[in-house]
């Protein structure tokens, strides 16, 4: 019996797959995320629209995770994978808290996230994350990722369907790129300036990106903890 099976397998062309429809396990639920850091704070924002194809499935989806009092994660991409990732991280942070009697630091979480994503290198979690908060020195920090865990500490970042519209605005307004009027390009914006900028950026983005809209969740992380705001976008 085994011999027959073996010979059957050998007679098949090895380079080609058998022609059969294969289930495609990914879907993109779209949405935008952004993160901006200041000197002693970080602001993260994400919209609440969830799409499937060209349909709006719900206008009130959440895709953020408050990890500690000093760290917030916002994610876009496939909702089921995002939720799975968030559940894994939440569990890992609980274990850390129980073992060390203190919450994990934001830079440590940034590496935990990177490794969690890379662990699934050959069947990736289809998520595009922006992590932000304040580090051990109380400085604002934002970390940018790709789906398989590439990690970079940045001053600002955007991900998701509207990222191509958000990033250039942040380049100019936060990174001071092509700004003849500003000589000190290493400066930071103030907290209320950043919150207003995040709102304006997403309001502009949803004018052109049909997958971004409805509401925005905004998180301000500073030494006092995490402050949450909800802001209205286009509802169309």
């Amino acid at each position: 019996m085994q011999l027959i099976q073996q010979s059957k397998q050998e007679s098949l062309p090895k380079s080609k797959e058998i022609n059969q429809p294969q289930f495609f396990p990914y879907t993109n639920n779209q949405g935008s995320c952004l993160g901006i850091c200041g000197e002693k704070f970080a602001v993260l924002a994400t919209d609440t629209r969830m799409s499937m194809g060209y349909s709006i499935v719900t206008r009130n989806a959440t895709k953020y995770l408050k990890l500690t009092d000093k760290c917030v994660l916002v994610s876009s991409g496939m909702q089921a994978d995002i939720e799975t990732l968030h559940k894994i991280l939440k569990a890992r942070l609980t274990i850390y808290q129980n073992q060390h009697q203190k919450p994990m630091s934001t830079p440590a979480i940034s590496h935990l996230l990177s490794r969690t994503l890379y662990y699934r290198r050959f069947f990736p979690l289809y998520t595009f994350n922006v992590l932000g908060g304040i580090d051990e020195d109380g400085k604002g920090c934002v970390f940018s990722y790709d789906a398989i865990g590439t990690l970079e500490r940045v001053r600002y970042s955007a991900s998701g369907s509207g990222s191509a519209l958000i990033e250039p605005i942040l380049d100019n307004q936060v990174g001071f790129k092509n700004r003849g009027d500003i000589t000190d390009k290493t400066g930071f914006l103030e907290e209320d300036e950043v919150v207003e900028l995040a709102k304006d950026t997403l309001t502009s983005t949803c004018e052109r990106d049909i997958f971004t809209g409805d509401f925005v969740h905004i998180f301000v992380v500073n030494e006092n903890g995490v402050r949450e705001e909800k802001f209205e976008l286009r509802f169309d």
Binding site: I18, Q20, P21, Q22, F23, P25, Y26, T27, N29, M50, M52, S55, V57, T58, R59, N60, A61, M78, Q79, A80, E83, T84, F123
Partner: protein, 224 residues
């Protein structure tokens, strides 16, 4: 891997399920058809079922997978209440999360359960209306429509929804949507069931027909 062991395409399928919240509960509706491709194969299937005294699940997509999910959820309930009858039963939210994990697991094994499940519940004076899809995606909303209903009924449900919608208004709205689906979705038949999920528990109606008018079809281009 043996390809015959997987649902690579659905066989007997159910079409849309519609649901809307009203001021003191939820109305869920579906037709009773199980299609075999374009053949109306089974005409008296119930696609909604009561899983606890507070929670109802309805589903579209592959009927055998749906019945499998119903059995899985039933055994989950049994496991959680068998010896602990005094304890709080599983909440609708917990049941939705359970179904979501089952669906996500199956999609991750490239062996999905080909369904869109709607979970409706009323427990502790609170309405719950949520859904889970083939990938394990889950969400909550005031109105939910699966299958073709996502395109035809969902816009009507969203337009008709308001905070203080009464039961009669909700049923009227749902019936309008069912009629639209029967007119335009070729995988829907004129035999529907409406379920009510509220304080008083769950009641699933007997199948009924809606009044239709085909004489207006004469004005439709191409209709003889």
């Amino acid at each position: 891997m043996d390809p015959t062991k997987k649902t690579l395409q659905p066989y007997v399928t159910g079409s849309s399920v519609l649901a809307i919240k009203y001021n003191e509960g939820i109305i869920v509706a579906a037709d009773t058809l199980g299609s075999y491709g374009s053949l109306a194969r089974f005409t008296d299937l119930q696609r909604m079922s009561k899983v606890t005294n507070h929670t109802l699940i309805g589903g579209s997509g592959d009927i055998s997978d749906l019945q499998q999910i119903q059995k899985t959820v039933e055994s989950l309930i049994l496991e959680n209440t068998g010896f602990k009858k005094d304890e709080e039963p599983l909440t609708p939210k917990e049941i939705q999360q359970y179904i979501s994990r089952v669906m996500y697991n199956r999609r991750s094994r490239f062996d999905p359960l080909w369904n869109h499940i709607i979970v409706a519940g009323y427990q502790n004076n609170e309405s719950f209306l949520g859904a889970v899809d083939i990938f394990g995606t889950f969400y909550e909303d005031n109105t939910i429509a699966s299958g073709f209903g996502a395109y035809f009924a969902q816009p009507l449900l969203r337009k008709g929804y308001k905070e203080d919608l009464t039961k009669d208004e909700a049923i009227d709205l749902i019936k309008t949507c069912l009629k639209v689906l029967f007119y335009r979705d070729a995988r829907t038949i004129n035999k529907f069931q409406i379920a009510e999920v509220s304080e008083g528990g769950i009641t699933i109606s007997d199948p009924f027909e809606l009044e239709t008018h085909w004489e207006i079809a004469d004005w439709q281009e191409g209709h003889l």
